[in-house]
């Protein structure tokens, strides 16, 4: 009997989710503020997903000249804690494509829904570890923009601050790294269509890919507050220098082994209720883009704005 493409991946993912829920219910709960591990504050970055769960709302504007079209994308993300160490994430994006021939396409991408379990937070070593799964729900977006099939993406997330380095290298303590690694499984292996010229059936394969993305951060906030007050005033004393490396490797089909990604050097400013950021988007190869793009981030800390209502976990 022929197995449905992606069925084994789907079953495995559901089993993993069920196991995760059981463990979450059995573990003692504790409450962490968003993105904190001891003295370390991990800001939300641009394209590398956070290692932590939170009550937050983000708008990310992404403009880049891709291999086939100039893309402008407005990404909207909302994260909500259900338990102090478990949360859900919702993602939507409005995409505008301008092709090389001058034609355009606009519309909403598929709705994304994810779950994340922050299973370790170590204050002394400034470490956060999480696992989660994201579902890009096929067919929920505009047909000219979005995939008609669902993609399931289990992943491992990490964040590590270097505040535990010895005094002799104290100026390295403001450094931190975050990252995410995980496969992306399409629930349909290919899309069949009829070639109008030949009348033959053509199948476009949907490859499995591997996301491996990380960021390197240097926190001026951390430097000023915990290492050395070098006299930085506002707004620099709340800035974090960030360089992201969001990468993806194609694992099957015609593109197997090929890598796409960008290098995103930028800066974020973290206020009490909001975060702003701007970064360049430098393609690593021609498959990733043809020119340097830009990323702009506006982020709201819902848990600080409304700590006793919608900013608190649903279940304590």
């Amino acid at each position: 009997m022929k197995r449905r493409p992606g069925s084994s991946a789907t079953a495995l993912t559901w089993c993993a989710l069920g196991l995760v829920f059981m463990i979450i219910l059995l573990l003692p709960v504790s409450s962490w503020a968003h993105g904190f591990a001891g003295k370390r504050f991990f800001p939300t970055t641009f394209q590398v997903d956070d290692p932590f769960i939170s009550d937050e709302f983000s708008v990310l504007i992404d403009r880049i000249k891709g291999p086939d079209a100039k893309t402008t994308e407005i990404d909207i993300d909302y994260s909500k804690r259900i338990l102090p160490n478990f949360g859900l994430e919702f993602h939507e994006a409005y995409v505008h494509l301008k092709n090389d021939d001058g034609s355009t396409a606009n519309g909403w991408d598929n709705l994304g829904i994810g779950a994340k379990w922050q299973f370790l937070t170590n204050a002394e070593h400034e470490t956060i570890l999480s696992i989660g799964t994201d579902f890009d729900i096929g067919g929920t977006g505009a047909h000219q923009i979005a995939d008609s099939f669902t993609t399931i993406s289990p992943a491992f997330f990490f964040g590590k601050g270097l505040g535990d380095l010895p005094e002799s290298v104290k100026y390295l303590r403001p450094f931190a790294v975050t990252g995410v690694v995980g496969p992306n499984f399409p629930t349909r292996s290919g899309n069949a269509s009829i070639d109008p010229d030949t009348g033959q059936t053509v199948v476009e394969r949907n490859p499995t890919t591997l996301t491996w993305a990380f960021s390197v951060q240097y926190s001026l906030m951390y430097l000023q507050s915990f290492v050395k007050d070098i006299g930085l005033g506002a707004p620099f004393n709340r800035m974090i220098l960030v360089t992201e490396f969001p990468m993806e490797t194609c694992m099957s089909a015609d593109c197997k082994g090929k890598i796409t990604g960008t290098v995103n050097p930028g800066v974020v400013w973290a206020g009490k209720f909001t975060e702003f950021g701007i970064a360049a988007q430098i393609p690593v190869n021609s498959r990733s883009g043809r020119a340097v793009g830009v990323l702009g981030l506006i982020h709201l800390y819902i848990d600080d704005l409304f700590p006793k209502s919608i900013g608190a976990p649903i279940f304590h």
Partner: protein, 114 residues
């Protein structure tokens, strides 16, 4: 839009949200000539007196402050503790605060008396 964002960045924040240190005395990582009478940290938002503390340890980890850590009655964002005359050496300031919204932050820094 850039001017508006710059203005928002420069504007003092209201007294809510996670409390983060703005400046301190002695300053973070400073080398000073004489022992201070007290150690003070100014935060960027008001903190809860009952759940906030400040300690000073010497290089061997022994507590050397006078144990009178308090939020300044005239400034709810100022945390302070008195210290006796300290000998030359390295000292570690350890703080833990809860902001008015209930979020806890903590940290530490060192200073040296030469």
């Amino acid at each position: 839009m850039l001017c508006l964002l710059a203005a928002l960045c420069m504007t003092p924040a209201p007294a809510l949200g996670h409390a983060f240190p703005e400046h301190s005395d002695p300053r973070v990582g400073a080398t000073i000539a004489a022992s201070p009478e007290r150690v003070r940290i100014w935060f960027d938002s008001d903190i809860e007196p009952l759940f906030s503390s400040l300690m000073v340890h010497d290089a061997s980890g022994r507590m050397v402050d006078k144990g009178d850590s308090r939020v300044n009655p005239s400034n709810a964002a100022l945390l302070e503790v008195s210290v006796p005359k300290l000998a030359p050496g390295a000292y570690r300031v350890i703080w833990s605060v809860v902001a008015r919204d209930g979020h806890r932050t903590n940290g530490d820094y060192t200073f040296v008396i030469k």
